[in-house]
């Protein structure tokens, strides 16, 4: 799941702005290059994307998080140029997206990009099969070929037998799966997903997440994934970008975001996240001290919630080993307790 650090960025944007309700020329930016939202709110202007710079490497899953209205959907729409950014640059595989002609853009979308929409956006007059086949038809594929391919996609998302139903005859979750199948039909290298699992019930959602990870491990696509569910983000993300009022407050590995929040907002945003779900043994171990150790050891990459039960049940510290089996540190019981029950510790200190 971890992306190779060295691979080149597939999507890169710099100083991206999208302002609704004003001409770009009228923008005033502060020292850091961001627009002050308070100045605009007065005039009914919304800076939905405000000085965002990001890059996503090949094979990486970048999860974009943030509250409702923080500009997540607008950001991916800029990255796919469904809307024109007010200013800034977007590069896809090193090519300037904003300089592309209409033709090139269409070509790019036909061959490289897929998108799952927040509200499904299925064509109401087409059946499930025809919806999934639609991008293939646009590519000019032969009938027999696209029918076979669409059937395969429908099977992949578990909707076999619904080929000839219309979207209105499906539940919300089923519609979203059609959307997923449609976006996958052309085997895109770059995949945008806007809250794809929000409409699903918890059971199916978990199933779909697992399926998503399985697919990704096989296909290795470059993914921008929007959600506002932290658990989902932690489960899927290589890196997380937290958005607030159009600005990206912090981008980093899940552990970084939680342990080293860059701004107050991120701190508040992550304060309720269970630490044990984010941290792994390696992040909180102490250097080996040569003392007596428990019989079993844990691997440095294992998450705390997975090893806590064993560590807490042990009187002695537990050895932490790397992938090669070499001991790199030890895990103390009280350290784990601190992570699991941060409040208990606080209330002990402050009267």
């Amino acid at each position: 799941m971890t992306a190779p650090e060295t691979s080149e960025p597939v999507i890169r944007c710099k100083a991206l702005y999208k302002v609704f309700g004003a001409e770009p020329a009228e923008l005033e930016v502060d020292g850091a290059g961001a627009v002050d939202p308070r100045i605009f709110a007065r005039d009914g202007v919304v800076a939905a994307v405000n000085n965002v710079s990001l890059s996503v490497r090949r094979g990486e899953i970048l999860v974009v998080m943030g509250l409702s209205g923080s500009g997540k959907s607008t950001l991916v729409r800029c990255l796919s140029r469904l809307i024109e950014p007010s200013s800034g640059t977007v590069e896809i595989e090193g090519r300037d997206l904003l300089a592309m002609s209409e033709r090139e853009l269409i070509e790019l979308r036909r061959s490289k990009m897929g998108m799952v929409f927040q509200h499904f956006a299925l064509l109401p007059h087409r059946t499930v099969l025809e919806n999934v086949a639609f991008p293939l038809q646009m590519r000019g594929m032969k009938r027999a070929e696209y029918v076979a391919r669409a059937r395969k996609m429908i099977e992949l998302v578990g909707l076999d037998g619904k080929d000839n139903n219309f979207p209105r005859e499906l539940s919300g979750g089923q519609q979203q799966r059609v959307g997923i199948a449609r976006s996958l039909a052309i085997e895109p290298d770059i995949w945008f997903l806007d809250e794809p699992f929000s409409a699903l019930d918890p059971l199916i959602r978990k199933e779909m997440q697992d399926e998503f990870l399985r697919l990704q491990s096989m296909l290795g696509k470059t993914i921008v994934f929007i959600t506002h569910d932290f658990d989902e983000a932690l489960k899927l993300a290589d890196r997380i970008a937290v958005m607030f009022n159009g600005r990206v407050e912090q981008v980093g590995a899940p552990g970084d975001i939680v342990l080293r929040p860059a701004t107050d907002y991120v701190r508040k945003f992550t304060s309720d996240v269970p630490r044990e779900k984010v941290l792994n043994a390696g992040a909180i171990m102490d250097p080996p001290d040569g003392g007596e150790l428990a019989e079993r050891s844990v691997r440095a990459g294992e998450r705390i919630d997975a090893v806590a039960e064993y560590v807490l049940g042990e009187r002695r510290p537990v050895a932490v080993v790397d992938d090669g089996g070499k001991t790199v540190g030890v895990l103390h019981r009280d350290h784990v307790i601190k992570i699991l029950f941060p409040r208990a510790e606080n209330s002990g200190e402050t009267p």
Binding site: I106, R109, M138
Partner: protein, 664 residues
């Protein structure tokens, strides 16, 4: 105060505002009564007919008709537009000829002049069955059978040929304009006012410029029909495209659609429902107009009807009227069924099954052709065999005249003497400035300075153009008719809505009646009251009551279920529920119905001029017979402007009310 001017009075001050306005208007009337009103505020110069010369003196301040005349003739003669119109006219004639030949002969196929009625009947029945089922099939079959048996076949086919030419062209133009308006804001902004005027302009006012530009005749009728039927198609296409969620368009783009693909494969299909509704409306409008186009020489059922009506042959007129009504209902049914038809995708059917209806139609038609060889009755019903019951109708009319005329006359005199005449005189007495103050004031209260300027400006045009008194006579008929329609229609709607089964039956009848071409409504009224002033108003009432009923039923039905449950749980009885919940929530929709009633009334009042009125309608008729283009268009605009003012005020109020209730 600034707020007021921009957006109208806040609701809680409105009652006081309206009171003050009424006081002002009353004061102005009193001033006039006392003789203190300066003449230039009381009355502006008007057209009047000089008896000795028989002509009209142009006495208005704003010689709009002369100006328009000059513009039109400049376009026609100096700019050489007449070459274009002649070309269009000729091409259309060719097109209609093709359909005429197909339906009425000249083809000489299979040894027949034209398809035998029995063959067309078979095809129509299969079509009806394929689209909806046996009910529609019987309706289509029944209609054609009626037309064939009553000796109206030729006229029916002429009307159908006109429709066959007008409908596709209207749809195409409407679709194109709708798409253009969707793509380009500027086009939309230019089209919207034109379309609002077009939709309130009386039918007859359309005919005049068309006659001047294209001459009289069959093809001119088609042109008038097309112009008349295009606006609803544009409006619905635009509405449908607007309603396509942006995400769907984006999904299309992400799938790699080019612009053309996006339009034809994503946006237009997603707007399918509205567009098909537009098609249905086009067909109905075309039929209504094809009847009226008889006035400028379009042949067919309408021409025949006009002919008989002018000769006061009530029985035969009714016979034709029924044919037109049947045709309307059948065409409406067919186009709706086609629009709602579901495609079946599960099918990987064998060839024979997939084409079973076309094959059946061809088979039956071939059978009919063969049979018609041996039984000529199946080809053409000869005149002496035609079933006519006109005599029966005539007898009925005579009977009514003999037995009821005393009662009906008494009723008529009572109405005219005690209600209609006083109302008319009151309106005519009002100084024009008082009426301007009234509509402008209402505009100010409901919508701020823009509305005030719009409404008073539209009325000022009427005053300046010199048609004030005529317009007030039109207004008084509309006011009275609307009053009666609301008085009867709204309670009727409420009563229907009390029970679900009754409500859907009421809506069904509203639907059916609304498909009737408006001209038809004159028939029963003439039958009862002959040709006179009251008949006109009654025809208006019968026609305009439909929306009052329909919108009331719809408004009541659309009250959300949970609200019903909530007030029931709060312990409301049936009556309380009606007063406390349903009426207030349904009121904005009911008011839209009243608005529609007023619009219908304006359009019908002008048609009713056919049975004798002395208002704008009468003058429009005159202008039509004189081919007086400037005068006709100005008169049409006068009617349209009054309607638009009312429409503006009522829809504003209703929209705001809905917003306040949180229903949008």
């Amino acid at each position: 105060m600034r707020e007021w001017l921009a957006r109208g009075m806040p609701p809680r001050h409105r009652a006081r505002g309206v009171l003050a306005l009424c006081a002002l208007v009353a004061l102005l009337a009193l001033l006039k009564g006392a003789g203190w009103m300066p003449r230039f505020l009381d009355e502006l110069p008007q057209h009047f007919e000089t008896a000795d010369t028989g002509g009209i003196s142009h006495n208005e301040l704003l010689p709009a008709d002369l100006l328009l005349d000059r513009v039109f003739y400049f376009l026609l003669d100096d700019l050489g537009l007449s070459a274009v119109t002649r070309f269009v006219s000729r091409s259309l004639k060719e097109l209609i000829n093709i359909f005429d030949n197909m339906l009425l002969g000249g083809g000489k196929g299979f040894g027949f002049d034209a398809p035998p009625w029995s063959a067309l009947l078979a095809v129509a029945m299969v079509l009806g069955y394929a689209l909806r089922g046996w009910k529609l099939s019987l309706l289509c079959g029944g209609t054609l059978l009626y037309c064939a048996l009553s000796g109206l076949w030729k006229f029916t086919m002429q009307t159908l040929a006109l429709l066959a030419a007008a409908v596709p062209i209207s749809i195409l133009i409407g679709l194109l304009l709708g798409i253009l308006a969707y793509k380009r804001r500027a086009v939309e902004r230019a089209l919207l006012p034109v379309m609002s005027v077009a939709q309130t302009l009386p039918h007859f006012a359309y005919l005049i410029p068309v006659v001047v530009f294209f001459g009289v005749g069959h093809q001119t009728g088609v042109i008038a029909t097309i112009i008349f039927a295009v606006p609803p198609m544009v409006r619905l296409t635009l509405l449908g495209l607007r309603k396509v969620p942006p995400e769907i368009t984006e999904a299309g783009k992400m799938a790699g659609c080019g612009n053309w693909q996006l339009l034809t494969r994503v946006q237009l299909p997603s707007a399918r429902n509205e567009i098909l509704l537009g098609v249905n409306q086009v067909i109905m409008q075309c039929l209504a107009m094809v009847v009226i186009a008889a006035f400028i020489g379009a042949s067919g059922l309408g021409y025949r009807l006009l002919h008989k009506l002018q000769a006061l042959k009530i029985g035969q007129s009714l016979e034709i009227g029924i044919a037109i009504v049947l045709l309307a209902v059948a065409l409406d049914g067919l186009s709706r069924a086609w629009a709602e038809k579901k495609r079946d995708y599960t099918a990987n059917l064998p060839l024979l099954a997939r084409f079973k209806y076309p094959l059946l139609a061809v088979g039956l038609a071939a059978g009919a052709l063969l049979a018609a060889r041996y039984f000529p009755v199946l080809d053409r019903v000869p005149r002496d065999l035609a079933v006519s019951y006109a005599a029966t109708w005539d007898a009925l009319v005579d009977w009514i005249v003999i037995n009821w005329s005393d009662g009906l006359d008494a009723f008529r005199y009572f109405l005219i003497l005690n209600i209609l005449a006083p109302l008319r005189d009151a309106l005519l007495f009002m100084p024009y400035i008082a009426v301007l103050a009234l509509v402008g004031g209402l505009g100010l209260i409901l919508g701020g300075w823009y509305s005030a300027l719009l409404t008073s400006g539209l009325f000022a045009f009427i005053a300046l153009a010199g048609w004030w008194d005529r317009a007030m006579i039109t207004a008084y008929m509309v006011i009275f008719a609307t009053f009666i329609c609301v008085l009867i229609g709204v309670p009727l709607g409420i009563w229907s809505a009390l029970r679900e089964s009754r409500a859907s039956r009421a809506l069904f009848w509203c639907d059916t009646f609304q498909t009737f071409p408006s001209f038809i409504y004159i028939l029963p009224v003439i039958m009862l009251f002959q040709v006179n002033d009251l008949s006109a108003i009654l025809a208006v009432i019968v026609y305009a009551i439909i929306p009052a009923v329909r919108y009331t039923v719809e408004g009541m039905r659309n009250v959300p279920r949970e609200l019903h449950e909530a007030v029931t749980m709060a312990g409301c009885g049936r009556w309380q529920r009606l007063v406390q919940l349903e009426l207030p929530v349904a009121l904005p929709h009911i008011m839209l119905g009243v608005n529609q009633t007023i619009m219908f009334a304006f359009s019908m009042v002008i048609i009713a001029a056919f049975v004798g009125t002395i208002d704008l309608g009468q003058q429009i008729f005159k202008a039509l017979s004189e081919s007086n283009i400037g005068k006709g268009v100005v008169l049409g605009l006068c009617v349209s402007f009054m309607a638009l003012s009312v429409d503006h005020l009522v829809t504003r109020w209703s929209r705001e009310r809905r917003r306040l209730l949180g229903m949008d």
